[in-house]
Amino acid sequence: MAQYDFKKITVVPTGNDLIDIVLSRTQRQTPTVIHKGNAISRVRQFYMRKVKFTETNFTDKLSKTIEDFPRVEDIHPFYGDLLHVLYNKDHYKLALGQLNTARNLIKRIREDYVKLLKYGDSLYRCKSLKRAALGRMCTVTKRIGPSLAYLEHVRQHMARLPSINTGAPTILICGCPNVGKSSFLNKITRADVEVQPYAFTTKSLFVGHTDYKYLRYQVIDTPGLLDRPLEDRNIIEMCSVTALVNLHAAILFFLDLSGSCGYSISQQAALFHSIKMMFRNNPVLIVCNKTDLQTLEGLSGEDLKLVMEMKSAALKTIPVSTITDEGVMAVKNAACQRLLDQRSERKMKSKKMPTVLNRFHVAMPKPRDQKERPVCIPQAVLEARAEEAAHEERKTEKDIENENGGAGVYSASLRKHYILADDDWKLDILPEFLDGHNVYDFIDPDILQRVEELEREESAVEEDGGDFEIEDEDFTAEAEKDLQEIRKRKKLLIQKHRIKKSTAESRPTVPRKFDKDRKFTTERMGRQLSSLGIDPSRAIERARSRSVSRKKLRLRSRSMSRSRSVLSQRPLGEVVPGEGFKDSAQKMKAVTMARNATKKRNKDARRGEADRVIPTLRPKHLFSGKRSIGKTDRR
């Protein structure tokens, strides 16, 4: 007895969608290029291929749909009836039939046009034939559009039908609306059906599963039934009727004792009697629900009589209250048990049973004599058992944990069971580091001894007085001072030299004798000499006597007739014989020219004609940067 899977039906495209799909497929999957210059056979082949391809696609898709949808006759009558109730069998069959016709038509079209294409004489004719063929196929598909839409609708609804296994043991819940069927289902199974105070909350069948004695039972909840003739029933009621009629199940007829569902007991009894026909061989239990509102004993005489009447037709009557859970399990167990018994009975009655029964035989050994042979347990085992029982009272760690706040709060003290020389030490705090050392690396029972040895060593070394070094005599205070002076002087010299070196290029090297800064005076010399510790007076005297001005005076006084000194001043324009000027004017001109030239050079801070030093070869401000307007190809 298979479980039907309506979810596997492929999606049914609408008419237009189907056309789009097939035509775009044709366009993509067949060659697209053909010229009228090609051989005619090739042209024909090209277009025939397209027509055939389109036809195959259409037929494939339609066939798939036709095959996927179940045939009403072939499936279990329950589903057949259900389909009929929900979708109208005739309409359903008609739709599928239309699809079938369409498929045949398309086939026919393809055959005709392929025959025509075989004799097409030009590209244009072949093309037109292909167009006509495809066009006709599309028209056919368009005509079955409404059927396709209907079938898609049906498919979507079918996929959502509850999956009821027609072969499994089933319990069916039925009764008037609002008596408590869905709440009962919620109680027994894990189903979560909507329970509301208004009637017809449940609009279709709902399935739940429950277990009993290692067997799985299906529990089906139905929409409420009203007491009316079959023809007048609406679709929702027809669902439950279908289930009642077609399924072999234990039927639980729910009775509302209090009448809070809106129907009195007499109405419910009337319903029961009208449905009685449908029960056939199925075991029936009457479930008197809502006993918390109204008990069975508290019923009035008439009602009680009606209930008794119903009871006679049924197996059992069980009072139940789904709110207080009273009797719910009893009902379930009773129903399941009854079903189980039926199953076993059927199995026993079947033809296979004797063959199975013949296979085994329960052997009961006959007693040899009347001697009693009771169970024998050795004494030691009995004693051990007794001891164990006594031991059970000790307090475990788990108990302590639970006392002190549970798992997350209390952490067991593992130190309690330490084996130490002295029990006081159990709770000692053990330092792990001390002064940047691991304490564990130093632990040694005789560590103190060794430390003592060490200390002895140290003191011995100290007494020795360390290394005996040859002490040089230290410098006297004077010598220290001198040394410092020397160092200072040296530093100054180095500094001066460095300055001189760094400015050498930009500074003109004026020989000392010209003494531009007037540094080299006798006073200075005198100071320096006295700082060195020498009496300068004699040196100053000597320097002064040999100075140039004195020399000049001496020379002059010696001989005036001798040739003039080079250093005597002449008037500027005076023509000197060795120079090469013809007259005074020329010399003046030469002097002026020289002066003008030097003027420009002085302005450029050049030392002379030969000074071509460029301090910065590529000054950044001339070689980089953007112009606000204009180009920078020339700099």
């Binding site: 691991n438 560590i447 040859i470 060195l532």
Partner: protein, 169 residues
């Protein structure tokens, strides 16, 4: 908890610091900070990197062999706790530490000693040679006739006389 040593610089790694790297051959490398870690990744040899302890020990800058090191050993077998032993150990650690520290300082002082002597010699020489910068030899001679300052001969440039200048013309 254990104080480990950085593989690169040999400094102590306190809990919560540094990175441990486990190589495929299961050798563990511990680093105290990313500087050491990055140096390791660059495959630098700590024995060649000046600021590491490995270099210093190798080149004799720091003390290597000493009896105080033997007292600190990594023990693999745990000892049963004894409070007295623990007390003694804690006291001992302090003492050992002090001794080790002193000895290391001695070692470094020893290293520096020759330099002092050398400096003194050089200063003495400098004093002798460059005394002329601050005191003229004559002055020294007059003050301390015992000392003979070496005579420094300086070649004086020849003075150009007037006659020579005229001759040039």
């Amino acid at each position: 908890m254990r104080l480990e040593f950085c593989w690169f610089c040999s400094s102590k790694i306190y809990p919560g610091h540094g990175i441990q790297f486990v190589r495929n051959d299961a050798k563990i490398f511990r680093f105290c900070r990313s500087k050491c870690h990055k140096n390791f990744k660059m495959k630098r040899n700590p024995r060649k990197v000046k600021w590491t302890k490995a270099y210093r020990r190798l080149h004799g800058k720091d003390m290597t062999k000493d009896s105080t090191f033997e007292l600190e050993r990594k023990r693999n077998r745990p000892e049963r706790y004894d409070r007295n032993v623990m007390e003694n150990t804690l006291k001992a650690i302090k003492k050992i530490d002090k001794i080790r520290h002193d000895r290391a300082a001695d070692h470094i002082a020893q290293r520096w000693k020759p330099k002092a002597a050398k400096e003194r010699r050089e200063a003495r020489k400098e004093l002798e040679q460059s005394i002329s910068l601050i005191k003229a030899p004559l002055a020294i001679q007059s003050q301390e006739p015992a000392i003979t300052v070496p005579k420094i001969k300086v070649k004086a440039p020849k003075q150009q006389t007037v006659e020579d200048q005229l001759m040039e013309e």
